[in-house]
């Protein structure tokens, strides 16, 4: 195994985590990671050794994700995206999620892909604003407003699901 591939291998857990936060379904997320790795291999020469492969790989994966979102929208399959994921889609059997985790994962899926990516990039993956803006290819101001809107939206959705849960409890 050469040096570059070894460095990329070390990034796979992070790429999978990011993909999972973007797509929820485990297989779809791993498909995205696999596409990313395949594209990275083709462009291996574009990446200088010594430079962290993380930003490079996240940039490749983000482009693939955006392409995929566009495709879904164009084909009119946007309704396949779980807007009310809690109801519309059963949690994958192999994933043991607490109620809190499931609610926040569902809520994250319900916000717009652009805001989701920006928020996850900073809040989970720990990139700086400058790094995240660079990876997502947007100005810093756009990134900041996506993060702020994303957080507000997420909070609203979490409040909604908490409310629904309490109504269910009352109905029992």
């Amino acid at each position: 195994m050469n040096e570059k591939k070894a460095a990329i291998l070390g990034e796979i857990p992070r790429l999978r985590r990011y993909a999972r936060s973007l797509l929820r379904d485990r297989d779809s997320a791993d498909d995205l990671v696999q596409d990313c790795l395949e594209r990275a291999l083709v462009r291996l020469d574009n990446w200088q050794t010594g430079e962290s492969p993380r930003r490079w790989l996240f940039t490749i994966m983000h482009h693939l994700f955006i392409d995929q979102m566009r495709k879904v929208n164009r084909r009119g399959e946007a309704q396949m995206l779980p807007l009310e994921a809690g109801e519309a889609q059963a949690a994958p059997a192999e994933q043991v999620e607490s109620i809190a985790s499931r609610e926040i994962i569902d809520a994250l899926q319900a916000i717009s892909p652009d805001r989701r990516a920006a928020l996850v990039m900073v809040a989970i993956e720990g990139f700086s604003y400058a790094e995240a803006a660079n990876i997502l290819g947007v100005p810093a101001g756009t990134l900041m407003s996506r993060i702020a809107r994303g957080r507000e939206e997420l909070r609203g959705l979490l409040d909604d699901s908490a409310r629904r849960r309490s109504i269910r409890v009352v109905e029992k």
Binding site: L9, R16, Q34, R39, S101, A123, A148
Partner: protein, 263 residues
Amino acid sequence: MTRRDFSERDIHMALDGELPGEERMAYDSWLETNPEMKAKSVRYIADRAALRAAFAGVMDEPVPARLRQALLGEATVRAAAWRSRWWLSAAAAVVLVAGGLAGYVAGIDGIGRGDGADDQLAEQAIAAHVIYAAEKRHAVEVPASDKDHLQTWLSNRVGLKLVAPDLAAEGFQLVGGRLLPAGHGKAAMLLYEDAKGERISLFVTAESADKAKGTYMAEKDGPEAVYWLDKGYGCAVVGSLPRERLAAVAKSAYGQLLAGLAS
């Protein structure tokens, strides 16, 4: 005292570690005097902790075998699915193409060898390549981002079960495809591009009664076609690549197309 006015925007910056260190104390005292903002900050901190916790487990999962394989260049699981069943016929086909190329390289080429169906196919394929591969923005009708639709559409029009070969191992990514006239029928053209922007195309038609294979060049220094015909289909791979590379691409494309046709 605060040197500047803080706003909700600063809550995000503080949370994301983007607030300059020297403003931190002033920010904290601002937060203490604004219960509404303080509540927001507390809430966002809790949401972030929940987000991180929800995805923390992914980091501990073992890397799936198919991802290791995709990276380390072993056979991918996706490709292996057909290889298990179509290995023998694909392998046989590859030998035929390689044989044809070896013949060409040895100087027994097909240039000016008359006007058979094979030459017609190769000429059409080269003509299409010359026109469309040069187009930057309008090279294809359906882009690769819509690959499933592209395959279904071209399959229906051409009358063959077409699978766009994955040529990533050869350095080529699918750009997309288009439908073209070919003889009395229709042909599918699939366009690929490598990291340097070099393009090759695959030209597939259902019209063929001959059985032939070879390489063809319409003019000196022009793009070259590697083609093969069998009962019911003909295919050409066209590009201006070094011969060895074109041969490797054609070999890979042929194996995958054949597997797709038979599936």
